[in-house]
Amino acid sequence: MKKIVLRTILFALPRVLNLTAWKHPDFRRRLKQKNCTAFIGLLDGSIGLTLEINGGKVRSRNANSVEPDVSLLFRDLPTALKFLMPNPDQGDIIHAAKNFKVITKGPDPLVVWFMQTLNLSQTVGVSMGTPMAEGTRRFTTCTNGGPLFVYVKEGRILRVTPLEFDADDAQGWEIRARGKTFRPQRRALVAPHAMTLKSVVYSDKRILHPMKRVDYDPDGDRNPQNRGKSGYVRISWDEALDIVAKEINRQKRVHGPGAITFPMSSHHQWGNVGYYLSALTRFANLIGFTRVAANPDSWEGWYWGAMHHFGNSMRIGVPAGYGGVEDCLKEAELIVFWSCDPESTNGAYAGFEGTQRRLWAKELGIEFVHIDPHNNPTAQLLGGRWIPVRPQTDAALATAIMYVWAVEGLYDKDYVAGRTTGFEEWKAYLLGQTDGIAKTPEWQEAETGVPAKDVRALARKWGNRKVYLAAGMTGAGFGGAGRGATGQQWARCMIMMMAMQGWGKPGVNFGCLQLGTPVDLHFYFPGYADGGISGDLMWTGNAVSNYQRMPHILTMNPVKQMVPRQQLPDAIINGHASGYLWDGISQEAQFAPFTYPMPGYSPIHMIYRYGGSAFSTVTKSGRWIDAYRHPSIEFVVNQSIWMEGEAQFADIILPACSSLERWDIGEWSNSGGYAHHGFGGVNHRVVTLQHKSIEPLGESRSDYDIFTGILERLGLGALFTEGGSELDWVKRVFDGSDLPNHISWSEFCRKGYYVVPPERPDFSQPVDMRWFAEGRQKDLPEPHPLPSQFAEGFGKGVQTPSGKIEFVPEILRRHTADNPDRPALNRYIPSWEGLGTTTLAGKYPLQMIATHSRYSFHTSSDGKNSAVNHVRDHRARIAGHDFWLLRINAVDANKRGIAHRDLVKVYNDRGTVICAADISPLVVPGVVKSHEASAEFKMVDIGGEIVEIGGCMNILTPDRPQTRGTSSMSPNSCLVQIEKWQGAEEFKLSRADTGIAHE
């Protein structure tokens, strides 16, 4: 019977393919791309079909008359049927492939083409997008700033708009608090950088063709010293991919494993298939590479310090935030924002969804306090008391508040007694019994600049009241205060403050309504860090759910050598580096150092860089110039969408296309992995099909296609693609999620999105740490800590040796006793680059903080003549160049004769950047505020002085880790001097002020 079925399927195949071609022009075009013959059938040849594709037509041929170019062979009949019947089970298919029950023969590029063509015949018939008036079609996409509709007419993007729900989409939740009922708006409140998408896709800085550096000859002189200086010549894709593949093989042959490295940026355009933790990881694993071990940049301070007090290592040391929206609206009297500016940082990916909720809090009369050197956009919108604190002195302020609580009894004594350990030792330190210095509000005043009276007033307003502490980006962790010399001290204080106030009790928690919406947490859709198509089980969240839900072939990087990201330039220049791992598996993982190079492996000789943001996102980024020019670096590939940043330092440039020019799928604000349930920041869970809305511009290609092109030359194309195109993978992600239970594939392709209904009102979301405050078993839906990490019994207590919140962490006692930078008893140690370092402060008296930009997501929307260049709060157009802004107080400006929008030179020993001055009382004297992540990196010589005019503030920041024993960044411990730029006139003269042209 089964034989008949197989014979029937094979018999029909040529007709099915021809019919599909007749109906669909895209498939017709596909068939015309190549001529080949293919055999599909059983390994023993007893049942099979030989297909011939010629001139776009498919016919069957006699098996004996022709030697097929490509063969798809099944070991047995059941396996063949599993593959060829409709709706194959992916688990069966992958199992068969891994166990050699199906094999392919033939040149790798042809095998890939043939299998992708078979798959295309299944998907080409599905109608994509929604037709609108006047020949327009509406597609959907998602970005780091939220989901959008994409309107296309005649192959061109007409406009992008925020996604809005219709009457058929699920109704949202409602919260009743203090006599009012709140319901979120039925539209996506997206971030400004999301709205720039069309402008960056059509940017005139798009790289449209593969390019080779003019003085780079892979078979002759490579001239590494000229990187960043030389121009480029256009080459063909074949030539570019041949050079890259050949170099990969040469590196392995001559140097051995580890010679190649892929410095990956922390983010990418949205989408589970194309993400760097997905397609790029799969590609890199199939090549083998020295891993660039990222520092926990978002979590500095929390990872190295705070987590030892309470656990949550799988969340990299930050609180979870469950149930925070409802609890805060119902119970809180006050929200204290500390290094927390959600109107700028959007809780990372949630756009302005939280803004609406904070305005509800304002309506309810909840008060606000803002602790920040800058009166930031959140403080500007909400109002409330501003407490301007000097950068990197936050721990002193926090300590003094706790002093007042301790001496005036303004803390939860029962909670401290029952749920914590070590308070007596901490209290002794506060009272001055340890070191003879009472940590009074008067004590901290000279450090922080905050008057003692204000500290006392805040402590009294806060102590034993129902207060939400909004620390860091989400209000539940992260934050610029954590990225400096005192980052750990501050984050540790945040936990200790909450421990003193009864963390988890009603109205007492971390948050600012940015996290903890009552969405359905149990609907399964993977986040970008959950593995994607990577096949990697060690360095993504794949093993948790994705690998089972979406079976795919696993990939492994056999190279164990790692290099710490912040020290990568030093590793290249000096030949060695050492660091400490970011690994959330336990609190202990961070204590063991690792070194580069590692015995058995080659040092790095080839850099394959995706994107180009290091100049403005890695500290002391000027080091990268020397690193790229170092003679040990024999080859640099840069794969980028735009010509900016580090792309100008490459030998070969491969043009990638944007997310609108390829297929993907993603859920809003769902990172997964280390930030489990991150979609608790949005009001509605929205899963989007990220339509390929237009064809790639110029000769640009999707990353996936570029990786396929390289791997095909190494015989790895079939393994990488598993015979599928990006759209095939998108469907596999769809099939592996809970979506098919609610919406069909064809409906999802047409409409483009699905709104997940909220959690049932009677299943209210548990509040973070409520279980702990009430002495119950843990009831949060998070799969951590690991079973072995509970002190007594599973689900009892937090992830510490005692199971309680520890004021003096046992883990630090055990492991950092010999490190004076990381004392078990937290204490305020002034910044090693601050006002206390008087010699340095004498030369560079101003403290600079460079935080996340509001109008770009890292570098992705900045520069490139995008719409963001018009934002006067982002760059200032002077003499036809868009200068980065530096925010200065009038007192500091007047002293230096600087007027609003003057060009100023910002400098220290590490470099010089030219900015436009923005003078206002929004920063206090002694502090200058800017942003990181300029996409433009541009050194110019004006009047004999070399200055950077793109706005890369990280040229000025220190590369020193916060403390010994960590691989951590400290950009916010930075001293600078500013002066009115004497070169301004010469610069203006050197440029035609047309108001149009950009370099």
């Binding site: 539209r187 400004p192 709205m195 005139d204 302005f352 500007q380 007033a457 307003k461």
Partner: protein, 296 residues
């Protein structure tokens, strides 16, 4: 005949620029014949957001004001533009993308500086209220659609109903004295125009300085007491809604711990800083620090 009007909620704008970017998205690369030629990639935006920061740390207040073409009923640009500009029956003002060519003089004619010059196409351009979208069934312009805090509210009403609404809700227009009769109204414009006088009350006792909550703070203009408030937990008090450049004021503070007074001149908003109470058992002598004038 119902016509288009726009209401802008002052105080809700947080300077996110979604409206400006949405506007660029709509017009860059798109030609809408009869409505607007494409906007230039690098040219000025037709929606601008002005910023006003008042006070000094820690008492600052920031207000953002989106401004754009007001689609005036008595437009100064039409006096200069001739038949290059037309006023539609629904109130919208459109600069003809063909007849406007070369007419740089039109740019200078707008007292609101709402007209930008497109150098590449040699055209004056404005925010057209997304007339092309409204004519195709859209209920609101793109700025309203993209704004996260509901700053914009497009309303279609006949002139009488709109006048009534403006009266009831105390809506204002910019530069009313020009008589241009804008169709863009502002709700809460006082926040952009008015000033505050504020301070922080403290007292010294046993060698420590503390904030004073619940002090009675009165504001006098001459002999007239015009407002009373109480200091909050940080000792802060604030009198808002005062006209700028309105001369001399006096602040008097009374509390069981003591009293204080300050005289000041109000030009722009004024934060008087820390005001230390003089204990009541001491004679309140006139103290030079009591007289505070505006810092420049």
């Amino acid at each position: 005949m119902s016509k288009w009007n726009l209401i802008i909620n002052v105080g809700r704008c947080e300077n996110c620029y979604n409206c400006v970017i949405a506007e660029k998205d709509e017009h860059v690369g798109n030609d809408f014949p009869g409505y607007a030629a494409p906007a230039s990639v690098s040219g000025e935006s037709t929606i601008r957001i002005l910023r006003r920061v008042e006070g000094q740390a820690p008492m600052v207040e920031t207000t953002y004001l989106p401004v754009m073409c007001n689609h005036c009923d008595n437009p100064p640009c039409m006096k200069v533009g001739g038949d290059a500009i037309r006023k539609r029956k629904d109130g919208l003002v459109i600069i003809d993308p063909i007849k406007g060519k070369g007419r740089k003089d039109i740019v200078r004619s707008c007292p609101y500086k709402a007209i930008v010059w497109n150098e590449e196409l040699q055209l004056p351009q404005t925010w057209i209220f997304d007339a092309h979208l409204l004519d195709n069934g859209w209920k609101r312009p793109r700025c309203q659609q993209a704004c996260p805090t509901d700053v914009f509210e497009a309303v279609k009403l006949d002139d009488n109903a709109m006048a009534q609404k403006a009266r009831t809700e105390r809506l204002k227009v910019l530069l009313p004295k020009l008589g241009a009769k804008p169709r863009v109204y502002y709700r809460g414009l006082e926040r952009w125009e008015a000033c505050f006088i504020g301070g922080s009350v403290s007292v010294e006792a046993s060698g420590k300085v503390d904030c004073v909550a619940g002090a009675e703070v009165s504001l006098y203009q001459g002999e007239r007491k015009i407002a009373v408030t109480k200091s909050d937990d940080f000792g802060d008090f604030r009198f808002g809604g005062l006209p700028g450049k309105s001369g001399g004021y006096r602040v008097e503070i009374h509390h069981s711990a003591g009293t204080a007074r300050r005289d000041c001149e109000l030009n722009e908003s004024l934060y008087l800083g820390e005001i230390v109470l003089v204990p009541t058992h001491r004679t309140p002598e006139r103290d030079p620090s009591e007289c505070v004038t505006q810092k420049s």
